[in-house]
Symmetry: C2
Subunit: 320 residues, 2 copies
């Protein structure tokens, strides 16, 4: 295995691989705040009918979660929708969360699933893909929707390449209805998500870093383990972002196929199972003292589950 310390700090695939190696885990923590599930400590004094009050609570919660997990995981994934739901004040809270994660040295995966054509796609790319000195939001990467066509990925790809950032293109998503379009078998014998995978691999082959990985990742749900194995093969140079682990039903053996033989090449997301751990019976002991202790224990447990049940265990032996 190549030494991650020799990887380029300006190349997204290398940066992410280095971060995964250093933290010894592929776990990314999703920051998906929901009003009804905030810890009592944060809910106290919050006015659920006032966007500003809720936005402040979301920022406080997101920042607190980051402080708990920052030494344990390589990346966090804020979900734009929950902040956007609060209007512009929610977006300001999202920016606070992103800024805090970046300041703590975490890779920020902005989960916003953007997509548009030409100069509009360019505007979204310019919004997110780069540091705070390069873009308004300052994220390391962005989830992107390919429905409009592969020409619409170009502005994202080019901006990412210029700014040392990356993309995660939706390929096979974790929801039950993802078959409606993604599993359609087309004339030449390929399924729709395989067409997307082919394009992702093409872009990764062009941008392969020292780590072997390019700058375009693929979103492939843990709820479809068979496709995960096939897509890992079809996109040898793409880092897979795997949602659906934990709360959505995916287990360690379901996500095992996402990894390469060194335990690299995948980011596995857990959101609700970690950030709302204090709601779970098994974390009541920790939650009684401090909700953050429950989040910490759940993070450690999830890292352990991934290390035991997948090749990610090879990372932990070397690096933790």
């Amino acid at each position: 295995m190549v030494d991650p310390d020799s990887f380029s700090p300006r190349h997204f695939g290398d940066r992410l691989t280095t971060a995964i190696s250093k933290k010894g885990t592929p776990l990314v923590v999703g920051i998906d705040p929901r009003v009804g599930q905030l810890p009592e400590k944060i809910k106290n004094g919050m006015d659920a009918n006032d966007c500003e009050s809720v936005a402040n609570a979301f920022a406080e919660f997101g920042i607190a979660v980051i402080d708990v997990v920052k030494d344990l995981v390589p990346a966090v994934k804020p979900q734009a929708a929950f902040f956007e739901q609060l209007g512009p004040l929610g977006m300001a809270a999202l920016a606070q969360v992103v800024d805090h994660a970046a300041a703590e040295g975490l890779i920020v995966v902005m989960d916003a699933k953007r997509g548009d054509i030409g100069s509009t796609a360019q505007a979204y790319a310019q919004a997110y893909l780069g540091t705070k000195s390069q873009t308004a939001w300052g994220c390391d990467c962005l989830t992107v929707n390919p429905y409009m066509g592969f020409d619409t990925l170009e502005p994202f790809f080019n901006t990412a390449q210029s700014n040392g950032a990356g993309l995660f293109v939706l390929c096979k998503t974790s929801n039950p209805g993802s078959d409606a379009l993604q599993e359609q078998l087309t004339e030449g014998g390929k399924k729709i998500h395989q067409h997307v995978a082919e394009e992702i691999q093409r872009l990764c082959a062009q941008t392969q870093g020292d780590s072997g990985y390019g700058i375009v990742g693929a979103v492939v749900g843990a709820t479809y383990p068979q496709q995960l194995v096939e897509l890992r093969k079809q996109m040898p140079n793409s880092i897979l972002l795997v949602p659906g682990f934990g709360a959505q039903g995916g287990t360690a053996s379901d996500v095992a196929g996402a990894f390469d033989e060194n335990g690299l090449g995948a980011l596995v997301n857990s959101s609700r199972g970690i950030i709302f751990a204090y709601e779970q019976h098994r974390y009541q002991a920790q939650a009684k003292d401090d909700w953050r202790l429950a989040v910490k224990q759940a993070t450690k447990d999830t890292i352990e589950i991934l290390a035991t049940g997948t090749n990610a265990g090879k990372l932990t032996k070397d690096n933790r």
Copy 2:
């Protein structure tokens, strides 16, 4: 033809059809501010390197455009990307533009092309789909991306139905590369965009209003006139949102297929051709006095082109 005054003010398809009938045109003006193309009057004093300064200029520009077109067209379509590019301050400017359009009685089509699964889709729906007393952004409708599957449209559909709002689902987009996935022929003989059209029509048949139109529209590009004719037939109860007219190359005869026999059932978008009309040689006379006069003349000219070259002429005869 049914009297639009009898249509339900709580049903999106009816509301939009009424607005089109009353203004006598299907033209929707896209609000896509770009730093380099703002009128001198607004650019003066703006610091292009300061997000707050640019956001203020975007709000001023968007509001001024609305004031020019509000008596002429039924709807405006702000493009979220250009505001999002400026970070949270840009989102605050977007909110100002939306609020102003709504206060002036215009239908607001939020062009944000959102899409996600389950509770995340619900958060996006709850962000946009409804009045300001129902949601943070207060828009009449939202553009939505179907790639993740038809189950992911449900939260948008249900929220729209509850709140008297609507959706425009991406079906056949106007960009050159839209064939990559949308034109793929699948096993049963249908193309991907036809699968999407089938789902849109199903949702419209369930929600047909007095106007004959349901609450789920379809985005179909003016740059594909043949598909526009076919999709009009396949989705008799869906209002088509047609981008690509004007600056992207679509002509009146290209969009003619989008209309029903009464000149209804379509919204035709023009953005750059109208909002940056002062850059065009033929509007120099107006632009010399006031950039807004150029925008006004371009709006009138575009309305006339649509009235002459499509069934929208039947509206203008009755209503203008």
